[in-house]
Symmetry: C2
Subunit: 223 residues, 2 copies
Amino acid sequence: MRSSLVTREEVLRAALKKFAACGYAGTSVQDIVDAAAVTKPTLYYYFANKAGLYQALIDYAHDERLRLMQEAAARREALPDKLVEVITALFGFLKAHRDLVRLSFSTAFAAPGEIPTEIRYLDKCIRSFEFMHSLVKEGLEAGLLNRRFTSKELTMSIYGLLNIYVMGQFLRADHSLHRRTAEQIVKLFLEGAAGKRAVNHWKRRSAGRSTRQRAASVILPRT
Amino acid sequence: MRSSLVTREEVLRAALKKFAACGYAGTSVQDIVDAAAVTKPTLYYYFANKAGLYQALIDYAHDERLRLMQEAAARREALPDKLVEVITALFGFLKAHRDLVRLSFSTAFAAPGEIPTEIRYLDKCIRSFEFMHSLVKEGLEAGLLNRRFTSKELTMSIYGLLNIYVMGQFLRADHSLHRRTAEQIVKLFLEGAAGKRAVNHWKRRSAGRSTRQRAASVILPRT
DNA sequence: AAGTTTACCTACCGTCCGGTAGGATTTTGT
DNA sequence: ACAAAATCCTACCGGACGGTAGGTAAACTT
């Protein structure tokens, strides 16, 4: 008889590995207990059901990530430094807990019916976004950010930039993510992409919105 | 006996609906044939297997989306206009073919083992990225974009910005995506987020990279 | 020492899965 | 008119699924 917590964690670890590798529906309870070297009743002794086990992992993944980002933000004063620190912390989390992050992503973008309805993750995603949002709002109030954009738009920008780098890590893991990358991201976020010769002569002139693109489709024309 | 193509498309349509709603592993062949009002052997008459049916949908989703984006780019001359047009086209595609886009996303971020190995989608994702990359390269060569960033960095920026808006549409469909949104995205991409009081006094000073964050974790200590 | 709780097992349940064998019916080619 | 091909059906297969009944043995409690 082992010390309870050990077995429980072994199940969690095996479940994380399998879920991250094969998704929720693609992983069978048998797969997990085999990997954890226990039997099915043992798993059901510690977790109510398959969904409960999954939820435990999702909760941990989001909570730990947010905690690290908050700690990182608290370590710096100025907004750019804060952002770099937060993004670097996230990169570190990704490096150390690749499976957890992969699990978060595939859960967030999984089809609604793929995962049991009782699994909750949306509020945790929003919480994470709102944390970045709070940093941006501070920056706006301090006049460090361009007031011609809303706080939400600005948050979308930095969050999108951050996200695409993390996502790229999963699609093709060619580039690694370190502090240098975080600095480039913040720089790009703040300075923008425009070159010197790109004068603002394209500004507000309501570009001809005449051309309506057709919705050609074989599959969807439906009724 | 129906006219072959009709039945085939009805199966495709039903499959799209179900796959988008429940994912690959979460959708059974029986679900699909029920929704299409046919029987299983009918489905297997038109498609080799479940994976082949899925692949047909994925291919169509990516090809059609890229086609629309390319058409959109060809309609404009200047880079900012091109970008707005492309993004607007993508938004239109999203609006008209929500299920197809949802399918693309959940496939891209699905765990590797969740979907049969024969399903190919990565090259199509890269193709889409490379299309945007080509637009950015043109902009760089024309001096319209900031040469202190690489073409890849700049593409990540606009692509990430674009992506986060599309993804947000799936997580919480509160805001709608129209040409106005596309214009704001391009503006944010080009102008950057920095406010007027944000002088570049944070530039290159290699912010103290002393503090090493701990990798506290209950789950992962492994070995 | 005896009872209770904790930790974990073997063996099994009913259900649903992807896929198929083999045949019926309709359309097409000649 | 008749054969061949195309289209779609009923009925079924072996296997894997999530979950459980019921029991064993060690560890705590008193």
